[in-house]
Amino acid sequence: MRRVAVIGYIAGGKSSLARVPAAKRGLPYHELDRLQITSDWRAVPRPEFLARHAAVIAEPAWVIDGIGLWRSLSDRLLAADAIVHIDHPLWLHFLWTTKRGDGRRERSDDPPPLPELERIFPFIWDYHRRIRPRVLRLLQQLAETKTVHTLRRPEELAAFAAAWGGG
């Protein structure tokens, strides 16, 4: 496993999980938000983002966590050899978003703080209705040629992280 895509929506545990194989196996770790969003929560211009993203997925080894634009997502999943899809019940993503740090950044290179709930909740709902069905269809198409792990509950996430960390 040299190219690992960890996908799923906000506050599902993607980053925590993605850091495990990156640390254990020495794979370079990339956070998609960092490629796509500036430190003051503005979008990086689309061509610039896509160019940065293309350069990363062309590398021989990576762990990338995040969704990004649809085009970047499909390119990345095609390039990956393993895909981890975190797909908790929707309410858990809402719940975990409320538990997220209130904009506190401990280090200057921490990911940007989340915007307030009024702005982030509609994004979660929009992802669930518009993007997730496309993700599921694409994963189904890729299932024969890739290793796809779907984690549907926090317990499955924990078990998978433990197994991955131990290997």
């Binding site: 929707l90 409320t98 909740f121 509609p122 709902w125």
Partner: protein, 179 residues
């Protein structure tokens, strides 16, 4: 509600934390109809695994509910068991269905629990959200589709107001409070 129409039985329904109670109280105050909150009528079993006890409590709820909707005037807000919802909608002359995008219900539930005057530390706020969020989701997936079908079936014989976002709710509430 159509001018000249006599409003006597109003059912206010919708998912958790959508503003049902506030609106139902405004309607009751404006029309002078007696207001009933359904939560007060339902009883959760104190022993969750005692199926016999829950069956008995459900039967008691059904009989109290049946008596209530048999009365000539009411504004009822809440949900209760599905059989009760159906009976109530059939008995109502006016139905107000609050049906915001799902994220609004999650957001308002968070604000309600966060802003509650109950003393609580950070942990219990989240314990409360952990209890409420799965219910909002369950309602959305299991109950709402049945409700929409039922509303469609009876739409010809009732006045049905569907409020699809906070702005529509605010306009409707203003019309009721101001008139």
């Amino acid at each position: 509600m159509a001018p000249g129409q006599r409003i006597q039985r109003v059912a206010v329904i919708g998912n958790i934390a959508g503003g049902k109670s506030t609106l139902a109280r405004a309607i009751a105050a404006r029309t002078g109809l007696p207001y009933h909150e359904l939560e007060a009528l339902a009883r959760r079993s104190p022993r969750p695994f005692d199926a016999d006890l829950q069956t008995k409590l459900d039967a008691e709820f059904q009989s109290r509910h049946a008596k209530l909707i048999g009365e000539s005037t009411w504004v009822i807000d809440g949900f209760g068991l599905w059989e009760a919802v159906r009976d109530r909608l059939l008995a109502a002359d006016t139905i107000v269905h609050i049906d915001h995008p799902l994220w609004v219900h999650f957001l308002w539930a968070t604000k309600r629990i966060d802003g509650s005057s109950e003393p609580r530390g950070g942990m219990s706020t989240h314990a409360e959200l952990e209890r409420v969020f799965p219910r909002i989701w369950d309602y959305h997936r299991r109950i709402r589709p049945r409700l929409l079908r039922t509303l469609q079936e009876i739409a010809d014989t009732k006045t049905v107001h569907t409020l699809r976002n906070p702005a529509e709710l605010a306009v409707f509430a203003a019309a009721w409070g101001g008139g």
